[in-house]
Amino acid sequence: MLEIKNLHVNYGGISAVKGINMSVPEKSIVTLIGANGAGKSTTLRTIAGLVKPSSGEIIFQGENITGKDTIDIVAKGITLVPEGRRVFANLTVLENLKIGAYLRKESIEDSIKNVFDLFPRLKERSWQLAGTLSGGEQQMLAVGRALMAKPKLIMMDEPSLGLAPLIVNGIFDIIKEINKLGTTILLIEQNANKALKVADYGYVLETGKITMEGTGLELLKNEKVKDAYLGSSKK
């Protein structure tokens, strides 16, 4: 569904992504793990059109979307749940959902209902300003907002960042749930353990280059991955 070929991205004179190749098959969960500053966020931001690549190609459903405007990319069915949630604090929960469907012309009532079914908490709080929600609720809202665009591919940038362990489990359950409903997911995580468990396929990114790849299970068992990202040393 999404193919990235030899992507290079420079960020303020520093090359953040140095020629990565990856592919996200339809209806799968693919994860990109790696340390801070490895270039994970930059990769997602480039796919979303927020950053222009210096070279390489991004192909979505057979169409070259490299360097296209964010609006066009959203319209084609790719949404990004940004790092740090970035809900619109001055808008109500319901308005945040509505704005997620900004480009849709048809009725969005069904989608709102679907999101509320997925996150009953948001329904209870639909008239509250998003800024008054807890971190976990804001993350639910950020995911719900992304779903409102009826995306084919959702990219999530560190959805578990800064959340309590119990909430993190909930978020990963939701990711699986959304995937089951037919949406392809590209997930970035520092919580490699959890990410690899839900993912069909994973890539390890180190200083802008992909150093390892494999199915989620393979990477979970890989000694190098265990050492560097899972915190369980062989000793």
Partner: protein, 297 residues
């Protein structure tokens, strides 16, 4: 002082206050989205006055046709300024765009001086606005009476647009986070243009009403009202449209009451705005209705 004089001045204060309010909305809306103090806004107001002069005096069009033309022309000018002077600096440091705004302000002032000379032109008489009506011993112009009404109606329209429409929702979202707004598929440039359309349109209405009260049109006529309306926006809490209107009313009232009660200080009429600005910045920098400002990241 008699009761009549007081009432007369009260009406004056409300009327001038609502004029400030109309222009202050333009400052506050642009600031809300771009975090830019649009220094050219007062000069847009000045240009609107000239447009009215040309339309009615030079082309002899009736006032109602002229009004429509002036509003449209002012909106076009406001959007043109945004597209040429601010849009290219979208990713530049905030100071650059501010300097650009000051540049546009000087450009418009000097362009007006060059094209229309510094000799004041008379604002055309719109009989329906300038005729006097009297209640007992108190008499004032229709303009004095309708200005606050028009202001409140327009405030309601602006509130409706920002709170109830899709583009308004996009404006509120963009005002706190451009990048995430783009991720929603919002066209930021269209949102910003809409803001300038509304702000310039209100400045045009303000100019027409202003001219009916102070019928003298000069290239530098926008400077002082511009500064005062900016202060009104700060007083009300910059970024907040209701606050801008409130600030405008307070400022207008303060000026007129100074003149009424302390006639010996009439010469300080313009100074009071700046005194208010200093006090607000010292005591409550967020203004009356302003919320705590969290800077955009």
């Amino acid at each position: 002082m008699t009761f009549e004089i007081f009432m007369q001045q009260l009406a004056n204060g409300i009327s001038i206050g609502s004029l400030y309010a109309l222009i202050a909305i333009g400052y506050t809306m642009v600031y809300g989205i771009l975090r830019l103090i649009n220094f050219a806004h007062g000069d847009i107001f000045m240009m609107a006055s000239y447009f009215m002069v040309f339309s009615m005096v030079n082309f002899g069009l009736p006032w109602y046709v002229s009004m429509v033309i002036v509003i449209i022309a002012t909106i076009l000018l406001g959007v043109l300024v945004e597209k040429t002077a601010y849009k290219p600096l979208r990713n530049a440091p905030r100071m650059s765009i501010m300097i650009s705004a000051i540049g546009v302000s000087f450009l418009l002032e000097n362009l007006a001086t060059y094209l229309f000379t510094g000799v004041p032109k008379g604002f055309p008489d719109i009989a329906i606005l300038t005729q006097a009506i009297s209640f007992g011993n108190i008499s004032f112009s229709v303009a004095t009476l309708v200005t606050p009404i028009i202001t409140l109606i327009l405030l309601y329209v602006v509130q409706f647009i920002t709170n109830k429409t899709k583009i308004g929702m996009a404006m509120r979202a963009s005002s706190i986070d451009f990048e995430t707004a783009r991720l929603m598929g919002i066209n930021i440039n269209r949102v910003i243009s809409t803001t300038f359309v509304i702000g310039s349109g209100l400045a045009a209405v303000g100019a027409i009403l202003w001219g009916s009260k102070y019928p003298s049109v000069m290239p530098l006529m926008g400077v002082m009202p511009g500064l005062k309306c900016f202060i009104a926006a700060v007083l009300g809490g910059i970024g907040n449209t209701t606050g801008a209107v409130l600030g405008g009313f307070i400022l207008g009232m303060a000026e007129i009451m100074l003149v009424t009660f302390l006639p010996s200080l009439t010469g300080y009429r313009d100074a009071i705005a700046f005194i208010i600005l200093i006090v607000v910045l010292l005591v409550k920098p967020t203004g009356l209705l302003g919320e705590k400002v969290t800077d955009k990241v």
